[in-house]
């Protein structure tokens, strides 16, 4: 018995670095794999059990592999906003303190270099920086190179590689987080704040990558174990690995960079146009604007879609999608969806075949299986939008 098909996308090449919580994961019984240049926990008790636990209670994810960046202006001006509006298609000038937005880095042709979260800092967090950004782990060094190349001299970027990032996700994440940090009860989806817990500064945002309510907590790496232990002592919380993180985000319809998003695809085709606010579309002034406007006017060549699969056989990344005899697309993420109870997939399909309810076929090991273009998310989001 051995692995086949290029589906072990959670595993990459050496050399691997340890996360700040490496020993903690191993002590919790994690199976470690290489991902984004780090030894990371893929599972503890099992992907299905961890997935379900997160949907029903609260899961703690170590996402310290992700890149945490801050931006400050040496000259005390608004240089950061101007510079970031060059780099990002999103409205940065209108981003209020403690608010967070989903955005991305685009190349000159409008291809997606990375997707990311950007927040306006407040209360002097991160040494008084203006902007805090979280980018993908596997792309962080490329991102940093790209960003530095495009930043004016007065804007200083800091890569906080001594900072850990934990995510607490699930319907019971709110009560678990509030048990340690009561002030977080007032946060709504995509809001953040600076909190203190046992003398440790925590920058907490209400956001995540599972479709559930939850938080992402940035804190000094040296204090990560203390917080992880305190959270896991709560009855609602268990540690959850990368395997369930992937199945949870797929059910939530959230794209995974390097798979569903690449430099070969565009924002509009990816159905991420919501990240480009009206003023930015009209005024432009960001790298990749021409592609966005062209595709808004003419439509993209292909679209990122959800796919419901008939039967039990999972269709995985790389599988070809057909309409009759015509190759119309490719699966970019796929697998068994524990909450749905069936296989699901995300893929890119040429525009004429991308409408909801379009019947298609996916080729798996020489066999065609029936699939239908489906709305995403597959499992409804349960973000906390109102108090």
């Amino acid at each position: 018995m051995s692995g086949n098909e290029d589906v072990t996308h959670l595993e990459e090449e050496l050399p691997l670095q340890p996360l700040p919580l490496d020993a903690w994961h191993r002590a919790k019984g994690a199976r470690m794999v290489g991902f984004a240049g780090y030894h990371m926990p893929i599972q503890y008790e099992g992907i299905m059990a961890e997935h379900s636990w997160t949907r029903e209670h609260a899961g703690l994810f170590d996402v310290s592999h992700m890149g945490q960046l801050t931006f400050s202006d040496d000259s005390e001006g608004r240089g950061v906003d101007d510079a970031l509006e060059q780099l990002l298609p999103s409205d940065i000038k209108g981003l209020k303190p403690f608010r967070q937005r989903y955005s991305m880095l685009l190349d000159e042709e409008g291809g997606i270099l990375d997707d990311l979260m950007v927040s306006r800092v407040g209360d002097g967090a991160f040494d008084g920086a203006d902007i805090y950004m979280v980018v993908n782990g596997a792309t962080k060094y490329d991102d940093i190179g790209w960003v530095i190349e495009h930043l004016p001299d007065e804007v200083v970027m800091n890569h906080m590689d001594e900072q850990a990032l934990l995510a607490l996700q699930g319907p019971e994440a709110g009560e678990a987080m509030a048990a340690l940090v009561p002030g977080t009860a007032d946060l709504l989806f995509m809001q953040s704040g600076l909190f203190e817990w046992r003398g440790v500064p925590l920058w907490i945002s209400r956001s995540g990558y599972t479709g559930e309510d939850g938080f992402e907590i940035s804190l000094p790496a040296d204090d990560a174990k203390l917080l992880a232990d305190a959270l896991c002592e709560l009855p609602q919380v268990k540690p959850i690995g990368l395997g369930a993180r992937d199945s949870l985000r797929l059910e939530a319809g959230l794209p995974l960079y390097g798979h569903d998003l690449t430099p070969a695809v565009s924002t509009i085709g990816a159905d991420l146009g919501f990240a480009i606010q009206k003023r930015r579309r009209e005024e432009g002034g960001f790298i990749g604007h021409a592609r966005v406007m062209k595709e808004l006017a003419e439509g993209p060549g292909s679209r990122r879609v959800g796919l419901k699969i008939d039967g039990r056989l999972p269709a995985r990344e790389g599988a070809n999608i057909f309409a009759g005899d015509v190759l119309v697309g490719e699966v970019t993420s796929g697998g068994f969806a524990p909450t749905v109870g069936a296989p699901i997939a995300m893929g890119w399909v040429s525009l004429p075949h991308a409408a909801i309810d379009t019947a298609l076929e996916i080729e798996v090991r020489g066999k065609r299986i029936a699939a239908t273009v489906a709305p995403m998310p597959f499992v409804p989001h349960r973000y906390r939008r109102k108090a």
């Binding site: 589906v7 099992g46 992907i47």
Partner: protein
């Protein structure tokens, strides 16, 4: 009846000319939650080492090889309805298929249980 093991983490029970094939408990543990098993059809013939079945866990698809040459006389239909049987009972009810053995000499190089345990411990 004797039980043999392969380095590909399959087990083979041999009774007369029929070999029952499954994956080991170690293998199912490594794969994690199994969500689909693709079985060979009755009458299919395999040479030793051919791809004979596919087991899909939540995270990946893996081949199951024919550990010896033979003709499929039965596949375990229970796995189609309940693939998780491979997780819960890999070395008994979670068997994959039965082969009519064409060359019994191929069994000679395989491990017994003690040797397989030692092999797994060395991994």
């Amino acid at each position: 009846m004797s039980r043999y093991f392969t380095e590909e983490h399959e087990w083979i029970d041999v009774e007369d000319e029929i070999a029952t094939v499954g994956i080991t408990d170690y293998a199912q543990e490594q794969l994690g939650d199994i969500v689909f098993v693709e079985l060979p059809v009755e009458g299919a013939t395999f040479d030793k080492g051919d791809d004979a079945a596919v087991v899909e866990s939540v995270k990946a698809a893996s081949d199951v090889y024919a550990p010896i040459s033979g003709e499929v006389v039965e596949a375990n239909g229970a796995l189609e309805d309940e693939p998780a049987l491979v997780n819960s009972d890999a070395e008994e009810d979670g068997w994959f298929f039965k082969l009519r053995i064409t060359d019994a000499s191929e069994l000679e190089g395989l491990m017994n249980e003690a040797a397989y345990k030692k092999f797994v411990a060395s991994l």
